[in-house]
Subunit: 344 residues, 2 copies
DNA sequence: CTGAAAGCGCTTACAG
DNA sequence: CTGAAAGCGCTTACAG
């Protein structure tokens, strides 16, 4: 080794492209070419460089690379949620975990950013521009301006769920909410239920809107009368589900089924039904949405609509990386599946 | 502006220290000094630079800075867990969220890394060295070698919970598990219970070991006989708690209380008791540990020991940043608190 | 207190 | 296919 080794307890100076070049007997340019795909490199040089890399234990200094390429080779996972709902909701975990490993397969680190307050949002936006190649956006209330801001700033972006009011300029990945809702309502109908209520999601969210639309469509398809008394909006929280169900029972005493737009709310619905002395599924059938861990933890276990979270996170990463690579925005809609358990 | 602006749809070239220097009428060195604390800068220069920064909208290019300082100004949150337990366990969320915002306050991004498999672990270890200033390590089975490896590699490191077998060379932050367990058992005793069993955590985890030790100590302090039939090891999962409670009931039919080493397991214990026809808390009192969201979601709501998660995450970040700044390792033990609800 | 200059480790036209 | 050279944007002794 020609450079001075550091003494003492510190870490050693890590090998650079320079060390590799000397070891391999080529120029630094050639080493760099090998690192970046090996184009225009002779087989002999390629071999020499590769074994020099192994021998020296070289890994690229990403800061130096980023300085020149302008890319950071990192991606942000941005959570815009005023409430702590996302952390209450197990879906979030699955999504975060899925995105982390999909990115890891490309050796791209995920920066977790949480924008609960306006100040945090500003801080995050400032950081994102110039420090991150793209953003995976998870935000329930899609009224918020983050998607628009990022899009305007030219930051590659994929949302989880369709961002309301963004046209189709912003990429997103979503489950087929409407179709899933239709499946559940059809299932309830086919098992003989005729007074089917619903606890919807918030109506400023795509899931809230679409699942309610599916419910309405299928009710009509089945020839059941539309009745606004059967519809109570929820807020995706457990407590909200419980309150909504209580209201529903008061308004519709002969209720025999409820389609609930999330499993967490369905837990609350189950609690309300138990308090009211209605047995599930005998008196009232309950269908959830998500197939989150909450569905299994419920008693009785929830019959629900599975969102394919693993595929959702994988597609979000795929679309984002494509977009960073220059592709145009794209929307991906993934099919859902009815999972039958004990609540309906 | 003297440099050429890019045309077309791309983002503009962001301002550099060079633009700020020209705007302020000083050298780039002076701008840099202002950026790094403003030492050895005259008030006039400082003002000029600061307003030039505002005017140009300058933000530092962290890659360039990192290239020269050798620091990345980022921190990894490394989750070492073969099972998906951490994502089932709501505690994880609170911890992750807390660390993210504590770091955000210092403008330091958190890189989320999940090492579920041996391959992922190797990948993460490779990334960490040289790409991250320090690591927040969250790992339940502390038998794993990650803490030792990181420590050996000279990476600043703070663990959540004491890493078994690391002596005191590795920093960690933990709740006072033993004391919390003592409090719960004392509480059960004082409410008249005399056949107090326990479902412990895994005995290769510090929480498992310490909470069991606290249980034993307090039983002795209360003059209750030690009886191994009263002790069943669990695995921190809901299903594990249910199985453990079933076993306990079989071995100790006159059981009148259980101290369960986690809220999630306590949910399983409640399920087992219900199946066995024992009412809670009348027949059997149940005390949990964590005060996670699971404690409130349980029915009846869990009497439990609160771990101060917000403080734990804040302290983890504080200790890590201190260590990155050159401080020696430190251990921080935080007090717990008994939260009384309906299960005991 | 301040400027000029070297250099961090890499990539990329450029000329051959 | 390959090397020499410029340059990405910053920090930091160094000399004044």
């Amino acid at each position: 080794m020609s450079r001075t080794e550091q003494t003492g307890t510190g870490r050693r100076r890590p090998p650079t492209i320079h060390d590799v070049a000397r070891e391999a007997g080529v120029s630094r340019g050639t080493v760099s070419r090998v690192l970046n795909g090996g184009h225009n490199v002779s087989p002999a040089a390629l071999d020499a460089v590769n074994s020099a890399i192994r021998k020296t234990g070289y890994t690229v200094n990403r800061h130096a690379r980023s300085l020149i390429t302008g890319r950071s080779d990192s991606v942000a996972f941005l959570l815009t949620e005023p409430q702590e709902r996302f952390f209450e909701d197990p879906n979030f975990n699955v999504l975060l975990r899925g995105c982390t490993s999909a990115l890891a397969a490309h050796d791209i680190p995920l920066l977790l950013m949480i924008a609960g307050t306006e100040a945090e949002r500003r801080r995050n936006m400032r950081y994102i521009a110039g420090h991150v190649d793209g953003v995976l956006l998870v935000s329930s209330h899609s009224g918020d301006p983050v998607a628009a801001q990022l899009h305007e700033a030219g930051v590659p972006l994929v949302a989880c769920g369709k961002p309301l009011g963004q046209g189709s300029k912003v990429s997103y990945v979503a489950a087929d909410d409407r179709d899933g809702a239709r499946d559940m309502v059809r299932f309830l109908y086919e098992s003989g239920r005729r007074r089917i209520g619903t606890v919807s999601g918030p109506l400023d969210t795509p899931g809230g809107v679409e699942r309610l639309a599916g419910y309405r469509e299928m009710l009509a398809d089945c020839g059941l009368p539309a009745d606004d008394a059967l519809i109570v909006p929820g807020d995706y929280s457990r407590a909200g589900g419980e309150a909504a169900a209580a209201l529903l029972l008061e308004r519709v005493p002969d209720l025999d089924a409820v389609f609930v737009a999330s499993d967490l709310m369905a837990q609350g619905v189950l609690a309300a039904l138990e308090k009211a002395g209605r047995s599930v599924p005998h008196d009232v059938a309950v269908g959830g949405f998500d197939d989150s861990p909450a569905a299994l933890a419920s008693r009785p276990a929830l019959t629900t609509i599975r969102q394919p979270w693993d595929r959702i996170s994988a597609e979000m990463v795929r679309v984002l990386l494509a977009q960073i690579g220059g592709d145009d925005p794209a929307a991906v809609i993934l099919p859902t599946e009815l999972v039958r358990r004990d609540s309906a």
